[in-house]
């Protein structure tokens, strides 16, 4: 539980009047935040609220607009500070990617600073001793010689945090009594509920002796169990700075989500086609990766969103259905066909009438250095062969027709894909799959890195496709996208399907609230 002593200590650092513009967009607007000694300070906000930008300004990656101030121990410091200057002042960061090198050992990762800055010779024995003490102090039963990639994944955030603590202490070795700061950007995102407790204990134990911790998190359970105060960002502004103990869950959710959670306008429901029975799709007992249990039955012509926090398994649902990752159990029924998901492969999935629009367009979806036509033709080569030979003219004509139909511009199928804009690349990817008329189209973050105009076009393409009685599953954290696109939104918590929102409950705010807080039924149907 939060320590009482922390509140009496002065701030370790204060940021004042931090603004940042990217092009025309105001990412941060005069943000103030201070982290006191001995406290764990939560930083919350929806995606795109400016949390990461703030952390990146603090770490010196971005420069803030003029007028910004940084005070460390009450002393003004020039911004931006270099990372070495920060380190000397006792600041230590754990970024979202953790910054571990998976192929090296725990020892090499823990002592990476000492190793890279070593003079003539690396004193392995003393480094090993240091690493063992550090690991033992935080209750990590890990062999320093083990390779990071061999460890269970939930050990990694712990090791990254312990390393950051080591770095922070090393900086203050020559100035006893000084207090440092630990800045943690969603360290627990990939940890399950039963393992995150250990991390929170570690975080707490760092703050107690008087150091300050800034913790970025989406997880309200975590925020309530470990933080003393929270600052909530929305649209680049501070919308709330509160003491955690005096705040209720609902209050916090309202602050994050913003505005009221009134029902939105009723959506036009899915169109029931004559082929309703044939396209009937049901997922039962899906388990694998971060997913523990997911069952869902599609109504014909329905666009279903799946969302949740990072690590809740929402994005794994798509990958498991398509056989991109192997499921432990589960059955997918498409019409009369039963597909055991533990034996699913992408090849079978395509055969069963599925298609996948993966999250990373350029490394998973299409091949940037090939032409638009070649990308679209990828899954249909065999349908243009006569006597084993590809009929190029026919294929090119058909493929160009598809690109045209989806509004790919410029309308030249011989251009290399990389010369197109992100939105048009995404349309090519849709053309590649929609020509197969898949019964279940799985789209993971389908409008990531796509401009506003193309985004609207892609939405209408997908909706249009669904009205033909086809099912679309959209895994996304983009609440605006889900609200605009979906007929039903499945919200996942810790690998299980929580609420299913339908109809008037599908608004940005309600989706966001359901993601943050599983305990709020908020008029949703039981799954």
């Amino acid at each position: 539980m939060p320590a009482a002593l922390g509140h009496t200590l002065p701030p370790v650092f204060e940021l004042r009047n931090i603004s940042k513009r990217f092009g025309g967009e105001q990412a941060l607007n005069s943000v103030d935040i201070d982290v006191r000694g001995g406290e764990v300070h939560g930083l919350l906000g929806p995606n795109g609220s400016g949390k990461s930008t703030l952390i990146k300004i603090l770490s010196g990656y971005h420069a803030a607009e003029p007028g910004a101030e940084l005070m460390i121990h009450g002393q003004p410091q020039p911004l931006p500070l270099t990372s070495t200057a920060f380190r000397r002042l006792g600041f230590s960061f754990v970024h979202q990617d953790l910054g571990l090198i998976p192929s090296l050992s725990v020892l090499e990762n823990l002592c990476i600073d000492d190793i890279t800055s070593a003079g003539w010779r690396i004193h392995w024995r003393s480094l090993a001793r240091h690493a063992r003490t550090l690991l033992a102090e935080f209750g990590l039963d890990v062999d320093p010689k083990a390779t990071i990639s061999e460890l269970p994944p939930w050990h990694r955030p712990l090791i990254a945090v312990v390393r950051a603590i080591g770095t922070m202490r090393a900086a203050m070795a020559d100035a006893p009594g000084r207090r440092g700061a630990l800045i943690l950007d969603e360290p627990s995102a990939r940890m399950s509920e039963d393992t995150v407790g250990h991390l929170l204990d570690v975080i707490r134990s760092v703050a107690d002796p008087g150091h300050g911790v800034l913790l970025v998190s989406h997880d309200l359970d975590e925020i309530f169990s470990v933080t003393d105060r929270v600052t909530v960002l929305r649209d680049g502004k501070v919308v709330g700075a509160l003491a955690t103990a005096e705040t209720s869950r609902a209050q916090l959710v309202d602050l994050i989500v913003g505005g009221s959670r009134r029902p939105g306008p009723a959506r036009v429901g899915p169109v029931t086609g004559p082929s309703a029975a044939a396209t009937d799709i049901e997922i039962s007992g899906l388990r694998g990766a971060a997913v523990r249990d997911f069952s869902f039955r599609f109504r014909p012509g329905e666009i279903v969103g799946v969302t949740g926090l990072v690590g809740s398994g929402f994005d794994d649902v798509g990958a498991l259905l398509f056989g991109d990752r192997r499921a432990a159990a589960g059955i997918l029924r498409i019409g009369a066909r039963q597909e055991p998901l533990s034996r699913m492969t992408p090849e079978r999935a395509v055969g069963a009438g599925m298609a996948l629009v993966p999250p990373d367009r350029l490394s998973q979806g299409c091949i940037p250095e090939l032409t638009v036509a070649e990308n679209i033709a990828m899954p249909v080569l065999d349908s243009f062969t006569a006597a084993g030979t590809i009929r190029r003219r026919k294929m090119d004509r058909q493929v160009a027709g598809w690109a045209g139909q989806l509004g790919v511009t410029p309308a030249n199928p011989e251009l290399t894909l990389s010369s197109l804009s992100g939105g048009n690349q995404q349309k090519v990817l849709l053309a590649k799959w929609l020509q197969l008329h898949p019964r279940l189209l799985i789209a993971i973050e389908p409008t990531q890195g796509v401009d506003v105009g193309a985004r609207a076009e892609i939405f209408s393409l997908l909706k249009d496709y669904a009205t033909h009685g086809r099912a679309i599953l959209c895994c996304s954290t983009d609440t605006d996208q889900l609200a605009q696109l979906c007929d039903a939104v499945c919200v996942m918590h810790a690998g299980r399907l929580g609420q299913v929102l339908r109809g008037a409950n599908i608004t940005r705010e309600r989706i966001a609230a359901a993601v943050l807080d599983p305990s709020q039924p908020d008029g949703a149907e039981p799954p």
Partner: protein, 321 residues
């Protein structure tokens, strides 16, 4: 850049290597008109390089699928040595000897597939090891000796002049070029190899059988290398335990230089054809000028580096514009 300018640039890129080949011919024809334009010189240049062209095509297949098969030259040597031993020492029928050699080529490809696809070893490492293993085998079975006296019927089929003084081997080269061009452009499997070579991940998520395609490419590449070994045995009437290895770098140079032309950015049949003959013509001309043997190594090595650098720079510029 204006549209006509762009068209000219793409034409230059498309036919650059052919133009360079023509330029080399004109240059040496002017400098050394008697020896270089001698009919004997022309026909022997065109015919004698069939082995190198086939080996290059073997690499075109594996490179298209995204694999580096550096054991291809060793397969060539093994194939010719097997024919020589079976035919001259064991007195096996020449047709059967050739079949055995080709089967061994396929076998090597299968084993490479086990190591690269099933186990997951990086292809360049796996085939580097395989190359050494095969070279050792060749030295073992040949006792380190050069063999000669392979059946005349094979030699006749390969070297004896038939059409306009060109031997059949040049006809084989043209046929192989047509076949490879057709397979890579018009057969679904050729397209799939291209997809897999460019992105295994995208291919997998599109439902292609990535493992099988890579394996197939390795087997096909080894098979073509074994065919080039048959041509070697036919051309020389014997087999040499080491000479095949000297062809590896020229073949890579041909494949990469070929990938800058005809279909720039793709390993392709006609581009490789032009590239190999451009390189060979250059070396032929230089050696007629009396320049020493080292020029070969120099020329092939430089061509490989230049070809890969040029295509990288071209790609970077295409991305920037």
């Amino acid at each position: 850049m204006t549209a006509p300018e762009q068209r000219i640039r793409s034409l230059i890129q498309k036919y650059g290597v052919f133009a360079a080949w023509a330029g080399t011919i004109v240059l040496f024809a002017l400098v050394e008109p008697h020896t270089f334009l001698d009919r004997q010189n022309i026909t022997s240049t065109l015919s004698s390089q069939a082995v190198l062209v086939l080996l290059t095509y073997s690499l075109v297949v594996t490179l298209t699928a995204g694999e580096y098969d550096v054991s291809a030259a060793a397969v060539l040597t093994l194939s010719s040595m097997v024919i020589a031993i079976l035919n001259t020492e064991d007195h096996l029928n020449i047709a059967l000897s050739v079949l055995v050699a080709l089967a061994i080529g396929v076998l090597v490809g299968l084993v490479n597939g086990v190591i690269i696809v099933a186990i997951g070893v990086d292809s360049i490492i796996a085939t580097l090891g395989m190359s050494s293993v095969i070279s050792g085998l060749v030295l073992w079975i040949s006792g380190g000796n050069t063999l000669s006296g392979i059946s005349g019927s094979l030699v006749t089929l390969v070297v004896v002049p038939h059409i306009f003084g060109l031997s059949l081997s040049f006809v084989y080269v043209v046929a192989a070029t047509l076949l490879l061009w057709y397979a890579l452009s018009y057969l679904p499997v050729g397209r799939r190899l291209l997809y897999v070579g460019r992105s295994r991940e995208v291919s997998r998520l599109t439902g292609l059988r990535v493992g099988r395609l890579r394996w197939g490419a390795l087997v096909a590449g080894s098979f073509i290398a074994a065919v080039s070994g048959v041509l070697y045995a036919g051309t020389t009437g014997g087999a040499d335990p080491t000479s095949g290895l000297a062809l590896l770098l020229p073949a890579f140079a041909g494949a990469f230089l070929g990938a800058t032309t005809i279909q720039p950015g793709r390993f392709n049949a006609w581009g490789s054809f032009a590239a190999v003959y451009f390189l060979v013509t250059g070396i032929d001309g230089l050696s007629l000028l009396g320049i020493q043997v080292f020029v070969q190594d120099l020329f092939y090595g430089a061509a490989l580096i230049v070809a890969v650098s040029v295509s990288l720079l071209a790609r970077r510029r295409a991305r920037a514009s």
